[in-house]
């Protein structure tokens, strides 16, 4: 399992490096100098390749560090959590903070094992409390979205 993990890691780093360097080909140059905005991306890409090779080498020699087992056993919660963040980001400007946050709280509280009373309580109270602290006290311009007519 560990060897497999390290092969994937090394390959991913090398792939990232290739993507960076490939993209950097089109960058313009500074007049009179032999390099420009592409210099650092290329250095970094080289570094990523070397690190990737190093990790592969470690795997081969069996000197890779042991690690705690963080293999996901619950894919559905993992994907749901990503979904909550993505959905919140998309609906925030339209639904406004209160509604978006309430929805996010419902799903997240259920996801982390909260019972319905806790979930409902959190979804009702927390958006107002957070809105009060961030919007009213700390002056963060949280969006109102469809609730604009009710805004304060």
């Amino acid at each position: 399992m560990n060897i497999n993990r390290d092969v994937v890691t090394g390959a991913a780093l090398i792939a990232l490096a290739i993507a960076m360097a490939w993209n950097a080909r089109g960058f313009p140059r500074i007049p009179v100098m032999a390099y420009g905005p592409d210099l650092f991306p290329n250095i970094i890409a080289t570094g990523l390749v070397l690190s990737g090779l190093g990790i592969l080498l470690e795997a081969r020699r069996g000197t890779a560090p042991e690690q705690e087992d963080t293999r996901p056993t619950a894919w559905i919660p993992f994907v749901t959590l990503i979904g909550i963040v993505a959905a919140f980001t998309i609906i925030l400007p339209w639904l406004g903070f209160h509604l978006s946050a309430a929805l996010a709280f419902v799903v997240a509280a259920r996801l982390f094992g909260g019972g319905w009373p806790v979930t409902i309580g959190l979804a009702v109270v927390a958006p107002f409390a957070l809105h009060y602290v961030f919007y009213s006290i700390l002056r963060v311009a949280l969006p109102w979205g469809v609730l604009t007519p009710l805004a304060w």
Partner: protein, 504 residues
Amino acid sequence: MDLMAILSAVADPLIITTVLACTLYGALVGAMPGLTATMAVALLVPFTYFMDPVQAVAAIVATTTTAIFAGDISGALLKMPGTPASAAYVEDSYALAQNGQPRTTLFVSLFASVVGGVIGVLMLSLASPQLARLATSFSSDEAFWLATLGLSCAVFVGGSSVPRNFASLFIGLAVATVGIDVAVGHPRYTFGLDELYDGISFIPAMIGLFALSELLRNAATGTETRLGRLTVEPIAQALRNAAAEIRRRWASVLRSGTGGTVIGALPGAGADVAAWISYALSRRFSRTPEKFGKGHLEGIVDGGAANNAAVAGAWTPALVFGIPGDSVTAIAIGVLLMKGLTPGPDIFTSDATLVYTLFGAFLLANVLMVITGGLAIAMATQLLRVPRSVLMPLVLMLSMIGGYAIMGSTMAIWIILVLGVVGYAMARAGIPLAPAILGIVLGQVVEDNFMVSMMKAQGDITQFFERDAAAVLGVITLVVWGVLLLRAVLDMFGPRRARGRKET
């Protein structure tokens, strides 16, 4: 400077009340993820219009000092460092908090901050003209070397696997290349989104890499921990342990406080770099380096002392030359000007009272911070008593609002999401996070200064050694990196050794 004059300048009930109120306010803002010391001060500005100059300066100083410390609170409790300066030791403080010692950890951090802050003020009052002179002698050449030297800390703050530490550093540097480049203004890796022109800001990046990736890990690994509550030790015990810890490590505090002040005064460095360098040095010279990153107080002492000392250091170029070292002092200069005070070498003679007050306010803020910071710790740690089914959604929401607050745009939440997944993948692959943060913080500083220097020298690389200070810094940097790389190569290709014994 005369200590009595400093103290009498602030022995005024109005000033004491102001400082007390501002330390409370600073603690609130600093502890909120995504709200920085800069934001705290910017929000304070309208109130300073109605204050007299002494009071206004005291308010700004007190707010900044506490906000920088309070960044540690969300770092330890939620793995959401309030500032890049707190990020250096967040893995330690979070691990300790998870092990039932959140209060001890935070009190250690508080006491280290206070002592570091006091060291910073003392140095500020004794040597600010000299420090400012040093700071203004830094051109892009010196700044480049200093930042490159800072990058070498990546090797010390990471884990035991050399290629993984470097991989992490380069991932961070890769993130830092996003945005318009300084030399020709070409947008790189922005995917056509103008919101990315300014690059990936630190705060959403940190929230993603640390906080969201932790939440993802929690969601993905089974259900058994989801309903548990964390234990929180009694305050009295935490205070005793923390005080003992600081007493035991007084030499480290002194070293990091002094170093932090100097680094804080230098352009292109500031509190972040001060904390990282102190943490790395702490680990390098520790007798137990293997404990770092897994929940060790030693690094917290050094990092915590250094970043608060750096806050005082950053004032030197601002006071003496009117050149802001960071955005907080930039705002502060505006307030000083509004109060009819022009920063400059003469400010120490022409407005001596004000300068004394500034130092006095720093001192007072650091002392009163023990009370307000303690209060904040006591209240914030209650949060951990909340069931996880409530705590985790709150952390999630705070992450998203925090990102939104710093950029005023949902782009920040996308950044958090992407880097959250990256952070999770890195943890899975056994790649440490700390070097990546260092890369994000310093990547742009290194590249910008390199490009600026090269444009000045029209591509002649020897120019990096033309200036005396640059030559000295350059040689030090090259030697440090040379040794590190040599050791890395030896480590990779040398005889196999058992893991865990190879740490120096």
